[in-house]
């Protein structure tokens, strides 16, 4: 069961520890790789940035810009932002690499009844963010980031989410899940719209287990979503899920010219081509679980495709048996699912929307699979082909 704690930062600290260990391993792999000439123009340079934990420092950004110069795309080698330029993650206040494994379990305590109460505060503000190198977007954000924090609980926990509106516009938080009408976070019902300077608390039980989401439901709805007011909401089953390297991927996009016809930049976790510049570090034969969501506005569908690999797919994550063993899924807005996979071979593996227009407009990245002596072996369920076991 959940470990009750009064320290809201604890889960994150744990995560950080994990990352630095992984980072060290990846850093070693990167140094090795750097000595070998790159065989293919498309193969990205190892994630030096993430590995050394330089999180957006000016020096880190500059050196990374150099590294990515030889790294990706251009001409027949595929799409590319202007080479040599990178997004200033420090100015944005968030880094998509860190966001992958940043699960916020909230501030927890045990109620008299024995249930776990989890509390979060989400502050809505207006903030300009850089969604592609040099391209700024006037976003509306929860807790200074897009997507907002990944809220995570166990089925049956009591949840209290306080919304503080410091934005210049009225907002709400509407959760997907099962809860009373008063807590639904839509205008005119319950607390309704939360005006500038006001606050409210949404309280309900975490159910059903699965992968859900939350977003602002103020009108115009399309704009309040497109501006960035959304996040993942994960409810684990009571018994928890098996151990895995877990990643949250929010497929989104930005209609920077506000013409409400498609988007100019497409991405996973906000910054276009981010995981081309900084491939996601995973380990060979490790269990990898991806919480995949689609919050893309102005386009009817989105999709996710992994190269040279297949995954078990659990739509909405509400059942523990996969419905499909595949390498491509298609999602409408607010559709989401859990993916479980493992990588058998080391190397760089592309992943992208198989709506290739989105791919070439930023929605593309790489997994960098590194091996190591102390590699974990994943549970059989992850790596075996269906029917093999």
């Amino acid at each position: 069961m959940a470990k009750p704690t009064t320290d809201p930062r604890l889960p994150e600290r744990e995560r950080r520890k994990g990352v630095s260990r992984r980072g060290l391993l990846a850093g070693g792999a990167a140094t090795g790789a750097a000595a070998v000439p790159l065989l293919h123009g498309l193969v990205p340079h190892a994630g030096v940035h993430a590995a050394l934990g330089e999180g957006g420092s000016p020096d880190g950004a500059a050196s990374h810009g150099e590294a990515s110069k030889a790294a990706h795309g251009g001409g027949n080698n595929g799409p590319s932002f202007r080479q040599g330029a990178t997004v200033d993650h420090a100015a944005n206040g968030f880094n998509p690499t860190e966001m992958l494994r940043d699960f916020d379990w909230g501030k927890t305590r045990r109620l008299a009844s024995g249930r776990v109460l989890r509390e979060w505060t989400l502050t809505a503000t207006d903030k300009e963010i850089e969604v592609a190198p040099g391209v700024h977007y006037p976003a509306w954000v929860y807790n200074g980031r897009v997507p907002g924090p990944t809220l995570r609980a166990h089925e049956g926990d009591r949840l209290r989410i306080r919304l503080v509106n410091s934005s210049e516009h009225p907002h709400t938080i509407h959760f997907h899940g099962i809860h009373p009408a008063q807590m639904d976070g839509v205008p005119g019902i319950g607390a309704g719209l939360i005006e500038t300077g006001e606050a409210t608390t949404y309280e309900f039980d975490a159910e059903p287990f699965g992968l859900h989401l939350y977003h602002c439901h103020a009108g115009p709805l399309a704009e309040h979503i497109a501006r960035g007011l959304y996040g993942a909401f994960i409810v684990d089953p009571k018994e928890g899920r098996s151990e895995a390297d877990e990643l949250m991927m929010m497929m989104n996009g930005f209609n920077t010219n506000f013409d409400a016809e498609g988007n100019q930049v497409y991405a996973v976790n906000t910054v276009g081509f981010h995981y081309v510049n900084e491939p996601i570090q995973v380990r060979r034969d490790d269990a990898v679980r991806i919480y995949l969501l689609n919050l893309l506005e102005f386009d009817p569908i989105n999709s996710f495709h992994t190269h040279a690999n297949f995954f078990n797919y659990f739509p909405t994550g509400t059942r523990l048996e996969p419905t499909e063993f595949t390498d491509t899924v298609m999602l409408g807005q607010a559709q989401r699912g859990v993916l479980e996979m493992c990588f058998r071979y080391p190397g760089h593996y592309m992943f992208h929307a198989h709506k290739t227009e989105f791919t070439e407009l930023g929605w593309m990245g790489f997994f960098e699979v590194g091996g190591s002596a102390e590699q974990r072996s994943a549970p059989a369920a992850f790596c075996d082909l269906p029917g093999a076991a």
Partner: protein, 404 residues
């Protein structure tokens, strides 16, 4: 008498005082006022409302294998920075020269790394630092010809085919017009008026169309009127000059030569615009250099040759040299136009040159009109009306052959 004149002046002292301060002092005050206003940033007016206005005009597109080069100019009031570029919904690597933001009226050359395919249309989208998009359409991707000797040779040949030769052929009608009665000549001149009116309207329509398309850092349709006004006034001045020089000899019928020269200059300026259209169409691959097009132009411009020789009907023996000069004046500008059009793709220049053609033609119509009048001094009589209609219709029909 002398003393009286002096007495009438207000004072002798005032006359001695230099007049230049009366000009310089107000100029200095105006300059100082503007400088202070600018230095204080327009006191009391505050900041401009709303987001920055970002405008870029693509002035030139060059396609090389695997590469698209755009010359962009900032036509808006605020600085613009091109942060990313996509071609056909694909982000591309690019370089910018000079780098950084583009100031007002500033220019930047963007070189895009993109494997374009011959014959395909492309949409280039420039994504600015504020997220605004500026779209540029490449109608048909064709490798831009290098401006080498062979290219200039081709343009010269093209200009000769569509300009010099047809005008020369049209002038072969001179023996005919010089042997028909004066009333017939008036009808031919009336047809010339109809023909020129058609060219003026055509030039005006083309200029306004271009003016609405162009980004307009240096203006749009107003350039058409500016060019037309300049050409009209310049030709009126030239005409007045020729008249004053020839006034003595004019009694005989040398007026015919003057009129022919004026018509040749007017048509020449028009052909400059025509050559420009052909050259720029060729540069962007929108022109098939087929025999059909050249034949179309030949027929079209042959009528212009008739217009030039019509006033020479009374001149019994015009020298071949003079006729040659007229033909070159009227036809050769097509060569220059083709050069300009193929090497400098600038809509503003095209509009301005089209305007010059329009103004020149209007001036020429004004010149010809007295010669159309019959013995009763009437301009519009059945034969002249028929002539004007035939002239306009002839050009309309031949223009259908040469859609550029």
């Amino acid at each position: 008498m002398e003393a009286g004149t002096r007495a009438e002046r207000p004072s002798g002292a005032a006359r001695e005082r230099p007049r230049w301060p009366l000009l310089v002092v107000p100029l200095a005050l105006i300059g100082a006022a503007i400088a202070i206003f600018a230095a204080l940033g327009g006191p009391g007016l505050g900041e401009r409302q709303g987001p920055p206005v970002e405008e870029l005009a693509v002035e030139r597109t060059v396609l090389r294998p695997g590469e698209i080069e755009l010359s962009v100019r900032n036509t808006g009031p605020d600085a613009v920075e091109v942060s990313q570029v996509s071609v056909a919904d694909t982000f591309v690597n690019f370089s910018a020269d000079p780098g950084g933001e583009i100031g007002r009226l500033g220019e930047q050359q963007l070189t895009l790394d993109y494997p374009w395919q011959e014959g395909s249309p492309y949409n280039v989208s420039l994504l600015t630092s504020s997220g605004a998009t500026i779209e540029h359409e490449i109608e048909v991707a064709v490798e831009t010809p290098e401006a080498d000797l062979g290219f200039f040779g081709l343009m010269a040949l093209l200009g000769t085919y569509v300009g010099v030769i047809p005008v020369g052929l049209g002038m072969l009608f001179l023996p005919f017009v010089s042997r028909v009665p004066p009333s017939w000549v008036r009808v031919v001149l009336a047809a010339t008026v109809g023909l020129l009116a058609f060219l003026a309207i055509d030039g005006y329509l083309e200029g306004t169309e271009l003016g609405q398309e162009s980004g307009g850092a240096f203006g749009g349709v107003e350039l058409l009127f500016l060019g037309a006004g300049l050409a009209y006034l310049a030709l009126a001045g030239l005409d007045a000059y020729l008249r004053s020089r020839r006034s003595e000899a004019d009694a005989a019928g040398v007026g015919g030569w003057r009129l022919a020269l004026m018509i040749a200059v007017g048509i020449g300026l028009h052909n400059l615009g025509e050559g420009l259209a052909i050259g720029s169409a060729y540069a962007v691959g929108a022109l098939a250099l087929g025999a059909f097009l050249v034949i179309g132009f030949a027929i079209h411009n042959t009528t212009e040759g008739i217009a030039i020789v019509a006033p020479l009907a009374a001149d019994k023996r015009p020298s071949l040299v003079k006729l040659g000069v007229l033909g070159v004046i009227a036809g050769a500008p097509a060569i220059l136009g083709a050069f300009l059009g193929a090497s400098v793709t600038n809509p503003e220049l095209s509009i301005f040159l089209l305007g010059i053609g329009v103004g020149a033609i209007i001036q020429v119509i004004v010149q010809i009109w007295p010669s159309v009048r019959d013995e009763h001094g009437r301009g519009l009589y059945p034969a002249s009306v028929a002539g004007i209609i035939v002239g306009g219709a002839l050009l309309y029909a031949t223009s259908l052959l040469i859609t550029v």
